[in-house]
Amino acid sequence: MRRVVVVGGGPAGMAAAKAAASCGVEVVLIDAAPKLGGQYHRQDARESGDRFKLPDGVEHLAESVVWAIEPILEGHRVHVRTGPADGPDRTGRAIETRALVLATGAYDWTPPFPGWDLPGVYTAGAAQAMAKGQGVAVGERVIVAGTGPFLLPVATSLIDAGSRVSAILEANDPVAGFAARPGGALAGWTKAGELAQYGAALARHDVPLRRRCAVIAALGEDRVEAVLAARLDEDWNPVPHTMRRFEVDAVAVGFGFTPQLESAVAARCEIEGGFVAVNAAQGTSVPGVFAAGELTGIGGADLAAAEGAVAGAAAAKRLGAKVRAPIGAMRRARVGRRFAAALAEAYPVRPGWRGWLRDGTIVCRCEEVAYGEIRHAVEDLDVGGARSLKLATRAGLGLCQGRICGRNVAELASLPDAADAFARRPVAVPVRLGELAEDVPVDEAP
């Protein structure tokens, strides 16, 4: 059987499924959400039906989570559970394939700061997902802080959902950043128009945008009652005597994104600089495994879709289908990567965030490991790598498997090997013991 398996139903995964199907191969697309779209095209879950339609020949497994990927002879076995999230009544299935496309996307990266573990502190993505997908505002008075153009749609969605947005605090000074680039590399960026619209909407609602400012602490007993914001210098160190208190019941923090790597790591794909390494055809270091979208670099939905189209065609070709080179998509991917690089340069992460922490600040939210414990392990116990640091402090050993704290712990402890070390999650999401014991049907590869 000629079958491509795509993991992820965002812009990258949908494009991959369409491209592969148009080459005449069967496709199975697996996504954890009930509806297609991923993060960028998140649909309102309360409306009936699905806005996106995949072509015939694509089987969409919705509400289905890939919990393990197992290398087998000449391919991979993809382990899936389908049904209500984390429930005991899901059905199991294992699908074997010789052409696997990974498009699992990314999630918010959040640097820790005092009080970030209080209820009322949300990632910017969470605020966006709740507003777009559920019509719920995460707070009545909300401050949006972090860096990058993503803060603008988040603030706009919050207003649409009924919040009052006190301010947007942008830690960088992107205007200076853009100006510093010869030729204005973002001039032809398709998203520029979209951003201008958000800017206009925010101006209508009198939402101030303050550059070189950040929330450096959240205050409250059992939930956020206020935040402390400060002006930052170029390295993101708070400028003395610039502290200001905002009375809010929620803060949405967005400093950029981290790729969801565990499927790629389980398939033994090479990771480079924290992302899945791919060639011009989106092929990873493992024959028969392709990666597309934010897994391979952060660059937005257009780039993700372009890469997906390339990956889908390459996966179909791998199965012997006749494929015309996806020249248009490859060109769009190249252009997209150029803008992504310019964007990354305009909105860098600066080391000063480390100075926002106090010894008592929680770094690993799952195992409740404070910054002081990590410092002690590094300074007094002489831990040399991610593994010994995890065992000494328990950081990264909780339910999220280091997704939230991994990058932070690595940076705080100056560990070189950490991006991969924290992304090794053979069981991607918890499965219940009864599910593991169950015999599941296996769709075998030819």
């Binding site: 009936s48 209500p84 999230a85 429930g87 209820p119 009322g120 990632t123 969470a126 997902a129 559920q134």
Partner: protein
Amino acid sequence: MRVRVDGAEHVAERGQTVAAVLLAAGRGSWRTTRIGGRPRGLFCGIGVCFDCLVVVNGVPDVRACQRVVADGDDIRSQDGAELPS
């Protein structure tokens, strides 16, 4: 649809997640941590952080942001590490 949140009846819409029902009911937190007993609720919103754990129909460790409500669901706060009832 009708669901119960810590014993009290609430109206829910089809397609809503448990987290959305809880937030709409004015709840900012619905579980406590295992070690410090600290309150937690929604954080990442997309199934990554496991902060939003809740007990649904007697089964603990369900991510509220991922679970779509079903008519008659019994949703309960989670107190540290709980065993299924």
